[in-house]
Symmetry: C2
Subunit: 113 residues, 2 copies
DNA sequence: GGCTTATACATCGAACTGCAAGGCATAGTC
DNA sequence: GACTATGCCTTGCAGTTCGATGTATAAGCC
């Protein structure tokens, strides 16, 4: 019998952060790398080697749409959330809270009235 | 220059849960598998294939000590936290809270006064 | 007696992340 | 003309986690 499974658990935090930061305003990859560092006060630093593959994957799956723009001789690719991407963000956020909530409960102890 | 790195990030949740549950009372592997399921209200289910290797690794590194005991024809291996294991638990817990706190901040948005 | 389920240990291969490193190109600065 | 910052990208490695599988005993059921 197949085991009940936690769908990969806590992975996908980079994906979660990227989706969340793209909610509301479009950004390009390099910008996201720095935004993540700032938004987490240096706690989380994702390299380009993490962010770009995530962006490509999310676009391939329809969660993001992109737009090319030249700026001062440089070519930026701006990404924005699609409706599907917003749904995805909501799903992952919820899942994230369920799981970290469960862990938090365990850490805080069985009962500390 | 070497990139600043987040030390493996969010992995090691099984380890964290095992250490936490062993704080205070000793348990054996099979018991831990179920305790984790119950303590998280079925949110997190770790198979034996996850728990046993973690136990072996933690013992090998001195965070756990074990004791064999026969119960009703079955042989159980009880694990308990060593002082080193307690330190390890504290470190990981702190790190866990720093990181999930940072993520929570991002999820909640830049400012929602 | 024969079947299934629960207890209890264990290992292995596959899959997936995430990371560091590196590569390419332009623009600005000293 | 060398170095840094910006901006894109890919690849190989290492570490986790997962699911499946294996072994053995005990207990319940028909």
């Amino acid at each position: 019998m197949p085991r009940a499974t936690n769908p990969n658990f806590l992975n996908g935090v980079p994906e979660l952060l990227v989706l969340r930061l793209l909610r509301g305003r479009e950004m390009y990859g390099y910008e996201l790398v720095q935004a993540i560092r700032e938004a987490t006060s240096e706690t989380i630093t994702l390299g380009e080697g993490v962010v770009y593959p995530v962006l490509h994957m999310l676009e391939r799956e329809g969660a993001l749409a992109s737009r090319r723009q030249a700026v001062a001789g440089r070519s930026r690719i701006y990404y924005r959330l699609t409706p599907q991407g917003e749904r995805r963000l909501n799903d992952i956020s919820q899942s994230w809270e369920r799981i970290t909530g469960a862990i938090r409960n365990v850490l805080e102890g069985p009962r500390h009235a």
